[in-house]
Assembly symmetry: C2
Homo-oligomer: 240 residues x 2
């Protein structure tokens, strides 16, 4: 919604699209938490979906949320061409070139040493793709120019990387009470993370670098610059 | 593609959409076969996806196919309004009002007695919804009138029910070699099926009745009537 306003649109114009992105996000968390993948039992301080409702229902709840996202997005207001472009962006960001592709690489990398390029490949897709798509969809439905859509894609990609590296640091350094989910689980599974590869100081520097690049992108936009800057700063300074 | 031609369109106009529907179908089979749901080890005479590639990859392959379906459908040729309507139809047919909703009821019904209404609720959603959506999408992108889109929805719903009841009968009466998947597995899991509820003769009669209603709908269309009739007959007369 901030991205729609950043290009002169209104938050109301993108409410449906914002809900659709949130549904895809929730679907991805439910499936990632499943025993077949991360086998996590705690999420946002509560039992994960499969712990509470069983594996079959968690799997199907994820699938249902995923289809509802496209149903809602395809019903969004706005020029038909922009709505269709938004559907394509969301699908692409979620599929094998995006979120799911990153997750596949993450699963394959588990327990093996990965290099910095592979780790960035994973992070760009697992976290960056959906955040970048959300920013682009906001810009599209907010009536932004093609250049503004690209600027918000850059903003979203760097925001996503900053957020994910900060997430890796939090997983390494926090308690479950602080996080609302399991802490130290990445290390326990020998997962590829920035702190594991670059050390805590190196990871912190990388996160700050991406936040700065997100801020640089935000400064090219006509509105909401301060809010977008605050979000980038929050991504790396948050404690949970 | 037959549905597009039935309303005067061309098969070429709906190739993308046909691929999208097939991807959703493949996604649903991969997820349904998972241990958390049907735990099937054989599909089309080959090991199921999770048996061959592991549960994590099967789960993610399903998710990737699902998003690719929407990416491909949203890139389909045709009037933008029809393409968007097709995206909405596919999403609705897949989600909690369709395929996934039917699967949820099916899982909840396993091991319990269900009545005829519940069984029909499950079958309409698990099998009828996607087939009906495929027919409607073909009609939409083939340039059919709203009445023709509705006629092809009716055709698809009855075709789907005829197909599913015939499937229940085959599961009951065939060998794994004939089916290319496990046979007798429904009964072993005490699953709700037509033969279990209505007997073999009653189920056969219901399947034939739906095939006949599909044929009645097909006869309202200007083209491809014979092909649509053959498909409805095949659905109930096939041996695998």
């Amino acid at each position: 919604m901030v991205c729609a306003e950043a290009v002169g649109g209104t938050a109301a114009a993108v409410t449906d699209a914002a809900c659709a992105v949130e549904m895809v996000h929730a679907f991805s968390l439910i499936h990632d938490d499943l025993p077949a993948i991360d086998d996590d039992e705690l999420r946002r301080g509560l039992p994960t979906c499969h712990v509470k409702f069983g594996e079959a229902m968690a799997l199907l709840a994820g699938d249902a949320l995923f289809s509802l996202a496209f149903q809602v997005l395809a019903s969004a207001r706005g020029p038909l061409e922009s709505v269709l472009a938004a559907v394509r962006k969301l699908a692409q960001a979620t599929g094998s070139d995006g979120l799911v592709g990153g997750e596949v690489m993450d699963v394959l990398a588990e327990g093996r040493g990965v290099d910095a390029d592979t780790l960035e490949f994973i992070h760009i897709r697992k976290t960056g793709a959906l955040i970048a798509a959300a920013c682009q969809i906001g810009a599209l439905l907010g009536g932004g120019s093609p250049e503004q859509v690209d600027t918000l894609r850059d903003y979203g990609e760097h925001l996503g990387l900053a957020f994910q590296i900060a997430d890796d640091l939090l997983n390494e350094q926090s308690t479950p009470e602080q996080l609302g989910k399991a802490a130290g689980s990445d290390r326990a599974r020998n997962k590829a993370t920035y702190p594991a590869l670059h050390g805590v100081a190196g990871a912190r520097k990388a996160a700050d670098g991406h936040a700065l690049k997100a801020i640089e992108a935000a400064r090219k936009l006509p509105h909401m610059v301060e809010q977008l800057e605050s979000l980038a700063t929050f991504a790396v300074e948050r404690t949970r």
